[in-house]
Symmetry: C2
Subunit: 412 residues, 2 copies
């Protein structure tokens, strides 16, 4: 409950994560509810980039590949991410974009698993569906079918025709959280792979890839992992598929012996095979720096505060009567939600713009959702209450109808 | 001629590019002959990264996508690269790795051009061949053939069975420069595409993609363009193929209307279709900064100095009798070479290590080549002469036989 300012401050005083915020370089006049879209700059991330640029690339030049172990960064940073998603070492890589990585694991699944159907959800993140559609066209001879169902129909739709179940753990619009474990069990019983998109999960909700027996996963580092705009993504391949499942983007870094410069590709037997070209060392330095913030933090504590934040937010909107105007489209059961809530309103875009103008950054998702992200590492209950004060004013005074808030920008 | 120190200094005094070196943050105790592998840090590149991190991402967070026009960076930086490779605007993108971009243009070629043969050279850069081999396996039903010939046999090997001719303008081992224009003409007469890899060309030798009527090109920015380790690559698609040739990595950034979040992919009609996922803005900032060094520089002047440097180097090695021990494997005709020379020696790896220990950085390429890159923007004739002095000592005193120089590191 954050009915009063005193309530909010009491929650902040009891918050074991409160001090973590000092590691972030957030502007003082902003309340940031959009860490689910782009995480903020942290001091360790900034320093890691400076170190790579001015203390490695600058003075040590090409020698840095050995001297500063750049060559192992995709595996090293991959393992650091692995610790946050329940992956034992040597199964996770930091590289490329989430889309390119999804292409790799989709093709590897098609190679390893029977069935011709890629089963996914109607409301999956569009780019995940686009990647499948691109593969359908590319491999037209194989008649791959993309079957889309509602999240609630997934389990029933898994049968022997399915090659891979491709799901995003946390829905990007509604924030609904899937029961991955049940999906894996059903998929495996049908001899299908389970491919998990962790874009809105990694660093925000508990993920146990090894325990859940997920086959392949992809995710991004620029949301809850705070690694910067367009930061390199990650991918996970379960141990039992390594040396068997082969991805088709055969770049030199995935070769069994990359420095032999042999003219014939020979797939590496380990997770390296899922690398393709040379990755950006600068961009990966930001990932490595950003992950330092998570050192010593228990993700269960993060999850607990995330749910406290979203509950407090929802209850306070309800208490002030705001939910009557902008109903939540997110799960009512807190155990079934990720780290965000979304609210429907005809003028959601303009409301979001007016909120931003008032110093509260959230985002909008088509067609008419105001999306609010809860990021326990740097968001306080007092800030949350202030954000609600501002939202209430925007709604009751209909500030959002002002023309400057109605105009769409290129990036929504 | 750099027979005497006075000769070298006279050439430096007459060098119109001499002052450009001040823009690079090279260590004072290093002579860098490896800019063909990893270009050095420049002040504009360092400042561009700092600006993005501390003055955009930090304070402006998600708003930066509009406020600092991050969303157009792949096109904007692409066009900046385009100016250095003879490409009119809206045909070049900065994104992904060279390997991933090669996959895109190879698949687009297979979609648009008849024939089932990808024709390339036996000594093409291995990763280019690996990418074709990956496609052969992925599209097994299409029976794509990878035909490899010597560079001298390329023209004769182009016939109607060929779908695409995939060549690297400057050979990574020998530095030999291909006559692209003649290859394009022959390829087009056989209804084949010409795909050009500019990894060792961009920023080093004159490239005229539009004039030569090249169909597709890829290249990297971390060599002669000095954009940092693993910096984002670029790709070029000739105007006449835009809106027709479609690449299969269907990410949201290549969608005709990415912010509609529609569940069905619709390819953008312009060069954007060749984008896939969200690119690293930090890494692209380094590219944009690094390219500032080229502003106001005529690439013909760069080429002229490059040839002066390589000629002076070769002549001086010859005069000192060193070529008897380590013969050049590069073209003798200067017009047929890129911006590097390679020399064969049984102990090339150890010679390179000993040279590095003496403060001269070059590199080694299997099986037994010492590779020397000439980078006119920051290399002086006096440095070149000093480098030769050190090499002569290493060779005549057989320093390279010392055990510490014989041991191979992970990255050669």
């Amino acid at each position: 409950m954050i009915t009063t300012l005193a309530d909010a401050r009491a929650l902040d005083n009891a918050d074991p994560l409160y001090a973590i915020r000092d590691q972030f370089e957030l502007p003082s006049d902003v309340i940031y509810l959009d860490g689910n879209s782009l995480g903020p700059l942290s001091t360790p991330a900034r320093e890691a980039v400076e170190r790579i640029v001015s203390h490695q690339w600058g003075p040590d030049l090409i020698k840095s590949w050995n001297q500063h172990d750049w060559i192992h960064m995709p595996l090293r940073v991959g393992d650091q991410i692995g610790r946050l998603i329940g992956a034992a070492p040597r199964q996770t890589l930091c590289c490329d974009s989430i889309s390119v990585n999804l292409f790799k694991v989709l093709c590897a699944s098609l190679d390893q698993f029977p069935g011709h159907v890629i089963l996914s959800t109607k409301d999956n993140f569009p780019t995940d569906l686009y990647m499948v559609q691109g593969i359908q066209k590319l491999l037209a001879e194989r008649n791959i079918e993309l079957k889309l169902v509602a999240e609630s129909e997934l389990l029933d739709a898994i049968d022997s025709s399915v090659c891979a179940v491709l799901v995003t753990q946390v829905n990007f619009r509604t924030g609904a959280l899937l029961n991955v474990s049940a999906l894996v069990e059903k998929a495996h019983s049908a001899h299908a792979a389970l491919i998990l998109d962790l874009a809105h999960s990694a660093g925000a909700v508990p993920v146990e890839l090894d325990t859940w027996r997920v086959d392949f996963a992809v995710g991004c580092t620029y949301k809850y992992l705070n690694a910067g705009p367009g930061a390199p993504a990650f991918l996970y391949v379960a141990q039992q598929h390594l040396g068997k499942a082969v991805q088709p983007l055969w770049g030199w870094m995935g070769h069994a012996n990359p420095f032999a410069f042999s003219p014939q590709y020979e797939p590496a037997k380990d997770i390296s095979q899922f690398l393709t070209g040379t990755p950006s060392i600068l961009a990966m330095a930001a990932v490595e720096g950003a992950l330092k913030v998570f050192e010593g933090i228990n993700l269960a504590t993060v999850r607990e505060k995330s749910l406290q934040l979203s509950q407090a937010f929802e209850l306070e909107l309800e208490r002030r009567g705001l939910l009557d105007y902008m109903p939540s489209i997110s799960p009512t059961n807190v155990e079934c939600r990720g780290s965000q809530l979304s609210f429907a309103h005809e003028h959601a875009y303009a409301i979001c713009q007016a909120w931003i103008a008032a110093g509260v950054i959230a985002d909008f998702r088509a067609p008419n959702y105001l999306r609010v992200g809860f990021t326990p590492l740097y968001l306080s209950f007092e800030e949350l209450r202030t954000a609600i004060d501002k939202l209430e004013h925007i709604m009751t005074a209909e500030i959002y109808l002002q023309s400057q808030f109605q105009q769409r920008q290129k990036v929504t």
